[in-house]
Symmetry: C2
Subunit: 414 residues, 2 copies
């Protein structure tokens, strides 16, 4: 029998209490009993990271990044130590490894650092000694020895980076869901579980706020060709594999429909239309690290145009302040802002090869009398901004239009 190396990552809800940790530890143990080598990556116990951030918020709204990282990194450290203690108590040898014990080297952009190097000598030694390494996810160390963190969802990234560096056979991501669905089952009761999805489709879904996996971990998995699988830590047979496009033999054009609610728009009315105007409006937002998503500029009429873009609602107040200044500078007539909008997207690798997908989506919305305010498309995605109150109805309509309601698992997964 060839021994496989599996990286297993457990999210916060999977390790929320010591009872949860015990259950997870038994799962790890059973993977080993099947003859695999296992390295475990853990997040902080559910709620811990927020508790730590709340402590900092009691002091200041702007903690220095270096110290915030040192603070929140303890969440994963606690969980890694408890997991190692639990595995040992079950009769397995285990050893916790923090970011700076691997070490996982990052740049020094605190609170959202990027991995520059994953050293594997220490963890390979632990694996060779037949000890289960329990890695504290999310955290690393900068070149100058400060503790850093990889930002939200960073433990997924740690797990995939580890899988890539160790050339693991696969990376299992355990959370409180058993995979990816064609839509949010809370919105669309006919949503169906997906068994296989391509990295690119998953990236689109993650980027749209599907919380199963963090975008950066999917990017990394695609880059290093790490087979990813999403499972529920509470058991059950269902799982979703995230693999190369070629491996997804799929007869539906659209893989899933998502609804993003954290969307607001800002419009500048009657902007004098001259070259560089878009840059002038948007660069202050870029400087403030506000992510502008969709942009529409109307055709110029008598030297004036209207300019509209969307941003995360969480950045709306800040953005309005910045854009008001620009509006005065460039002589726009008026600034309008709205947060009563949502973005509905259809995602699938079939889009690029199937003309008419967009038209089908627009028709399904129109047949429900839903007005489309903005549109954007990519190879794998069509997104429409609509009024918030129609959001859930729109998901069900598009889901049905692409016949996702009716697919049987057998048909869907060839």
């Amino acid at each position: 029998m060839v021994m496989s190396l599996i990286i297993q990552k457990y999210g916060g809800s999977s390790v929320a209490t010591t009872d949860h940790i015990r259950r997870v530890a038994m799962g790890v143990a059973s993977s080993r009993v099947k003859g695999n080598k296992v390295a475990v990556v853990v997040s902080a116990m559910g709620g811990q990271t927020d508790q730590l951030l709340n402590l900092a918020a009691e002091i200041t709204n702007h903690p220095p990044g270096r110290e915030q990282d040192a603070l929140v990194a303890t969440g994963e450290q606690v969980c890694a130590a408890l997991m190692a203690i639990t595995l040992e108590s079950l009769g397995h040898r285990a050893k916790s490894l923090m970011g700076l014990q691997l070490p996982l080297i990052t740049d020094n952009v605190h609170t959202r650092a990027r991995i520059t190097e994953m050293q594997t000598e220490n963890i390979e030694q632990v694996l060779n000694d037949d000890i289960i390494p329990v890695v504290a996810g999310f955290q690393g160390i900068t070149e100058d020895g400060s503790i850093s963190t990889l930002g939200r969802g960073g433990s997924d990234t740690t797990a995939v980076a580890l899988a890539a560096s160790l050339n693991a056979d696969c990376c299992e991501i355990y959370s409180d869901v058993d995979g990816v669905y064609t839509a949010d089952p809370n919105i669309c009761p006919k949503a169906r579980h997906i068994k296989k999805i391509s990295y690119q489709e998953m990236l689109e879904l993650a980027g749209l706020g599907a919380k199963v996996l963090h975008s950066r971990s999917v990017e990394l998995a695609q880059k290093y060709q790490v087979p990813l699988v999403v499972k529920s830590s509470f058991g059950g047979e269902r799982q979703t594999w995230i693999v190369n496009e070629e491996e997804v033999m799929e007869n539906s054009v659209i893989k899933g429909v998502t609804l993003e609610k954290n969307v607001s728009k800002i419009s500048l009315i009657r902007v004098p239309d001259r070259p560089g105007i878009a840059y002038q409006i948007l660069s202050p937002l870029a400087d403030a690290a506000i992510n502008v998503d969709m942009i529409i500029q109307n055709a110029s009429i008598e030297g004036y145009t209207d300019f509209t873009f969307t941003i995360p609602t969480s950045d709306l107040a800040k953005a309005k302040g910045l854009v008001e200044i620009v509006a005065a500078e460039i002589g726009a007539q008026e600034m309008l802002a709205a947060n009563n909008i949502v973005k509905i997207s259809a995602v699938g690798i079939g889009i690029k090869t199937n003309p008419g997908v967009a038209a089908r989506m627009f028709r399904s919305l129109s047949s429900e009398n839903i007005n489309i305010e903005m549109i954007s498309t990519s190879e794998y995605r069509i997104s429409c901004v609509i009024e918030e109150k129609y959001g859930e109805l729109a998901v069900r309509a598009v889901h049905k239009a692409f016949e996702l309601d009716n697919i049987k698992q057998e048909e869907k997964e060839v």
Copy 2:
């Protein structure tokens, strides 16, 4: 003005909440305003260490030391980061340094590691950059890169070791008390504050359970001649200096009276008296790391003797089990155990040069009709084991007998 370097250590009750931390940070800031360089050492926020240990206890009663250390070390890490955040929010530059960032190297005896090397290059760099280093106390790193802890009271030890290595001008220990008293004021209302005490006296007091300072930190301070001062983090002028014997010009023979309650005794009755019997009885306890304190062996009568010793009450159950086995082996007639006893001690550098101190103590106890069950003495200390119910009365009697009730501060501190 010559700039002084001061190490300030803040205990758990001084940093119990973010409000406490803010108050401490303002104290640190004011020390700097006076023109001193300051390095801060913090314990975990009050109660945190126990909370973390409770999590481990939910899993097992015997967590591996390495993982327990990784777990509890997060307490100090959280506090150091929060203190640095607070100092920064008050407009000072600050940087947290964990045990492995100093690094403070220890042996690999997890949960009660000893310092083998304190490297100071990093912290000196921080001090030279005019940044306040905030050191996580209690924690270090082993030669092989595991997180270690120095045992209870370890943050005091970190502070003193840092003061010694950096050749600091003094080491200030802040806690919820404003120094050392001639007796516990809760027991003896006439107890008085002590302004100066010698390392050796402080060691005896610490060893007897006075919780102001941990023995190891006092030993270390004496060894490296670090002037220690105990202050209240809640303000007030009072403080106790712990310095060399020569610097304590003191006209009272006895410096203080302490009562230790965590005392039990075990007696073996009618033990065949032959060479090596004491070793045979006590070595299983030494192997189990049970600290035997006082030992009495009666004169032999017809080849039999009685053998009595004291141990911490917390080890009584374990000790009884071990001694029962030995009792059977050596043919002792009976084993008796009691935990209704306490140890009262008088401590002072005057003892070795003043004959008759012991007699004075015994007389004061006898005049209250308190029976002395066991006696032990050292150069700096006379201890008597008595019945628990007389403990507090005995403290007041001895305190009075040595005229500690009447000393005015002016007389006492020359």
